[in-house]
Homo-oligomer: 172 residues x 2
DNA sequence: AACTTGTCGTTGACATGTCATCATCATGGC
DNA sequence: GCCATGATGATGACATGTCAACGACAAGTT
């Protein structure tokens, strides 16, 4: 192991207590867990770099734009978007304010609900997304998807589906 | 697909330009990619909750403590830790300052290099880590590792190894 | 020794995310 | 209508991360 452990989940002098010993991770499990953590960090970095270099977007920016471009009339209620993206309303509101200042999105009042507001994708925002998308997909392929076999892609899909289903149930 | 797309990487009106069309993701690839993104978000949330509830730690806190507990004399140079964790020195310095204020770590000058400094795990920090570790491993198992078959764990290890090797080479 | 270059870690300004709170309005019971 | 309750989205205080300097020192060159 060239890189040192860095994360959690194996004894190493931590598990010395007489108390309830958990089942620590074995080597294969540890390898998968740490690998996952490290992959996340580096993959994020790469994709973020590409988005920033191409169109000055962050990953959250890109996610917001994509979600909007998929929505009818390129608009969506703040709440619904927050729920979809697993963001807090507060976070989304702040982020939309900043994206609005850059001209990527706008807010519109909701006619049917006096409290509500829509986030609307501007033409400029659409253009920026259009310009950023090819490079982003290319990066996702180059640094992730194309490195796997078909079988691995399928199995990763299975894994994430299982975990997601479990997490959704256990989050209340 | 109950949940709406939310992320990148499939056409949907974005890929209409005459310019260089990338290879968009097919269904299996899209499933794996979006699943990965969503799993990340939810898994983070769960593990962070557990750490916070048990010992008032964040995930970064936990990573720092673990890395220190694995180091000889429970101390390590700032640079080396930053490199291991894939953090900027600035981030680490700020974070250590905050952890120091909570009594989890300390700084010591480095005798052999006048510029350098060690981060040292305090006894209290060690106690907190010891108290947090079992719950953390349990959560990692419950929400992730134990949901996979042995084969899936092995394959995930393979995948992350491949991707990491690739990323390390392409990051200069 | 004097100078150049590079590394170490810190700092401050700023961008971003979280949390609690708030005004506003919707909704249902009376 | 009137009230209690709850949902919506905005806001400010604060925690956290990024980025570009910076002072201090190390290492190599002359």
């Amino acid at each position: 192991m060239e890189d040192t452990a860095v994360l959690p989940t194996q004894p190493e002098g931590v598990g010395a207590g007489p108390a309830s010993e958990p089942r620590w991770l074995n080597d294969a499990e540890f390898r998968a867990w740490i690998g996952y953590r490290r992959m996340r960090a580096l993959l994020d970095l790469q994709l973020a770099r590409r988005l920033a270099a191409d169109q000055g977007l962050s990953e959250p920016d890109y996610d917001v734009l994509t979600s909007l471009s998929d929505s009818p009339d390129r608009r969506i209620r703040l709440s619904e978007m927050a729920e979809r993206m697993l963001w807090s309303k507060s976070r989304l509101s702040h982020h939309v304010t900043r994206m609005q200042q850059r001209g990527l999105v706008t807010r519109k009042e909701c006619p049917s609900d006096g409290r509500g507001a829509f986030i609307v994708l501007t033409d400029q925002g659409m253009e920026v997304l259009r310009a950023a998308a090819p490079g982003h997909v290319t990066a996702v392929r180059e640094h992730f998807i194309d490195l796997m076999t078909e079988e691995q892609v399928r199995m990763l899909g299975d894994i994430t589906e299982t975990v997601l289903e479990h997490l959704r149930r256990s989050m209340d």
